[in-house]
């Protein structure tokens, strides 16, 4: 029994250290996970607040070309602080509630050069291939961060 005392004390000590270390490790892992989550959420929220754009078409005169289906040109001006992704992967276009498939969208700058980002104060064009009847329509453009702008226009 005299030799069992220190041995059991040692076992108790090792077990206590292992348990405390495991708890500390788990805490560090969970905390790191939470910290990364806070960072991502903060960046996303800040990006949303810094992003803004405007659809600057003349609502009564949307440029149209082609013989059907027609190509309608919508001008997008980046009025935010950050560059905004300008491609069919990051941006959705809805006309009268219907989502336009990416194959019907072309993203170019005002000189018709394909671009993938729109810098602050830059104007880009989204050319939408569609068949729209005469009358009023609503185009809604959604950025990847959820920023939405809609625009009512009239086709003669």
């Amino acid at each position: 029994m005299a030799a069992g005392g220190p041995a059991s004390e040692l076992i108790m000590f090792i077990v206590a250290i292992i348990v405390a270390g495991s708890v500390a490790g788990a805490l560090a892992y969970v905390t790191n996970d939470i910290a990364v989550g806070i960072k991502i959420r903060g960046e996303s929220l800040a990006d949303n607040l810094r992003s803004d754009f405007a659809i600057i078409n003349d609502p009564e005169n949307i440029p149209v070309s082609g013989t059907g289906p027609y190509n309608y040109t919508f001008y997008i001006k980046n009025v935010g602080k950050n560059s905004i992704p300008f491609s069919s992967d990051a941006l959705q276009v809805f006309i009268d509630g219907d989502m336009m498939p990416p194959s019907n969208l072309t993203f170019v700058d005002v000189n018709d050069t394909p671009i993938s980002f729109l810098d602050p104060y830059e104007v880009g064009k989204i050319i939408v291939t569609a068949n729209l009847s005469s009358g009023s329509h609503r185009v809604m453009i959604v950025l990847e961060n959820g920023k939405v702008r809609s625009f009512v226009f009239r086709i003669p």
Binding site: E9, M12, F13, V15, A16, I17, V19, A20, G21, V23, A24, L27, A28, T31, N32, I34, A35, I38, K39, R41, G42, E43, L45, A46, D47, N48, L49, R50, D52, F53, A54, I55, I56, N57, D58, E60, N61, I62, P63, Y75, K77, V79, G80, K81, V110, Y121, V123, K125, R138, V148, R149, S150, F151, V152
Partner: protein, 170 residues
């Protein structure tokens, strides 16, 4: 037994301190970033509320087969950066810096338009028919001034002016 308790307590206490400091740093970075972005968001909204351009006067010169129109636009709001302006003339994008490339442009170059100042814009080679023309001038914060006019056979008449700013739902 006593030493085991002390050692494990020390380990747990230290790890809790590290956890709290880690979370605090993450929260503070996030808070600063979001507050900065929020400040920009408010500034943009305030700038839209306190920006206003108005058409104060216009003049025209009628030629044999076209006419040229000069529009004078006054800033009745905060100072605006003219370099960030964009134009839409009869539906198509135009640059406003040079009249030669697309028949629409400023008469004089100006970097900023201060409150109360005005700037003149030329629209040239407009066909001599009675069709209505529209020019939209959008400034850096997305707000825009729209001007409609037509030629009635003997004079150029301004039909209407309008003012718009971007909103989520139009």
């Amino acid at each position: 037994m006593g030493f085991s308790v002390s050692a494990s307590t020390a380990i747990l206490f230290t790890s809790i301190l590290l956890v709290l400091s880690n979370l605090y740093i993450a929260w503070e970075n996030n808070y600063v970033q979001v507050k900065d972005a929020e400040g920009y968001w408010y500034d943009l909204r305030i700038s839209r509320l306190s920006t206003r351009l108005n058409l104060t006067s216009y003049s025209y010169v009628i030629d044999s087969n076209h006419y040229n129109l000069t529009l004078t636009i006054e800033n009745n709001g905060n100072t605006v950066n003219v370099g960030y302006w964009s134009g839409i003339y009869d539906g198509d994008y135009v640059t406003l810096s040079d009249v030669v490339d697309d028949n629409v442009g400023f008469i004089s170059s100006l970097e900023y338009l201060l409150p109360g100042e005005d700037i003149s814009l030329n629209v040239t080679f407009i066909g001599l028919d009675s069709s209505q023309h529209t020019l939209w001038i959008f400034i850096g914060n997305g707000c825009g001034l729209g001007i409609k006019w037509h030629y009635n056979g003997s004079a150029v008449l301004i039909d209407s002016t309008s003012w718009t700013c971007p909103t989520e739902v139009t």
